[in-house]
Subunit: 135 residues, 4 copies
């Protein structure tokens, strides 16, 4: 349903490679169009608490077909989706989760990364996304 | 903490290869000594419900340091551990989960496989375990 | 509410000592009359999956004011309380959990032990109970 | 896997002693490197709701290898990790959880304390940490 294991593993591999370049230790998760896990890797000594966060970021990105950071902007106090994080047994709405689209623009899955600053999490997720987008 | 990502991915790869040989579609999970996920792969069109089962099998095998099928033999009605499956937010006690030991015999993680008959699940898990055992 | 920390720790200590004598590695939990944890100890290299089981055994013993093994006899297929384990976010109904009473016979808490055979689990739990019963 | 029961109990004992000095009633939890409970004590008449909080504080401190209060500073509305508390079946991000390192600086576990003001919770946790750090 959407992304294949081959592409999901390519996304994980690209994100892993980017993490090595940045010198960061990441948890990397890829879900399919059904928001179910397809491929996952936890780098040695990566934060243990980031395991669940990486998967939740990938799910969140696919649940709403937008980068997690975009959702976080409108889930703040006073925002239109305040505390949406309570749904779906827990969302993560800060950066690090990004939808993955195929060459037709159809979203086929998403990637979630956690283990460092949210800026680095996003950079690594983007490296994974780009590696397989439009294929 | 136990198995490295490199070895966990090698176990997943070996199990994947064995699945292709058998013509089966599997979910394959590897956890570390802390029973936390390190690597995961879901083959295309594998049963969706087996995703959670594969992870639970890997966790169960590490939780009690024995193949899941061994635990299942004593969790039957009338057996000494009847309904142990209710612990740890859910165990899976039929075959397909196997602990992974290093060259000193110390258990460093476990592999869990789900997607076909329990016999095939076990065969595929064993292929993953053997590929990285004693390293 | 019921057992004091002093007595709970004495029960854990006695159970720990009995475990050392038997050469077994246990998780040991003591709950109060409200079935809430008061003291806990996990011995080095004890089964990780037994952590939750030891706490659930202690809770189960207090929930129904009887040894967990007694409940297990009537929760079997065809028995009057078949699958009672589904309640209370998970019960454990094989031996290893025992209520603790004070000198008036009033139940003030319970001890739960997990990590070896159910026979040894029960022996270790009983050692903990006896050490503080009737005080 | 990280901290031994002996050291975990020493940390609990030191935190308990500090609580008595301060005249506060605490729940005290120590987890190992896998974020799994090793030792726990609830003082008589301590807040019942603090039981779960103390364990979650210890887990949170190990999940991200930092004091829980540090994480709380960046999980506020508008902060980079807003609502991270929804991950890992619930984090606690106010003070009272602190990682425990051995003499090589490697984190081997964490302590979590709850039952009074967050300032006192932190002071008590620190007493537990110091008692076993660098050993």
């Amino acid at each position: 349903m959407g992304i294949t294991l081959e592409l999901a593993q390519a996304a994980v591999q690209a994100a892993h490679q980017k993490s090595l370049e940045l010198g960061v230790k990441m948890n990397i998760a890829v879900v399919d169009a059904g928001a179910n896990l397809v491929a996952f890797a936890r780098m040695d000594d990566a934060w243990l608490g980031s395991l669940d966060i990486s998967i939740k970021k990938a799910k969140t990105a696919r649940f709403f077909d937008m980068p997690t950071g975009d959702l976080g902007k409108i889930s703040q106090p006073g925002g239109p989706l305040f505390n949406i994080e309570h749904s779906n047994t827990g969302l993560i709405t800060f950066p690090g989760g990004i939808p993955i689209a195929d060459s037709t623009g159809r979203i086929v899955g998403a990637i979630g990364v956690s283990g460092d600053s949210v800026e680095n999490d996003h950079i690594v997720a983007e490296a994974g996304r780009v590696a397989v987008a439009n294929r």
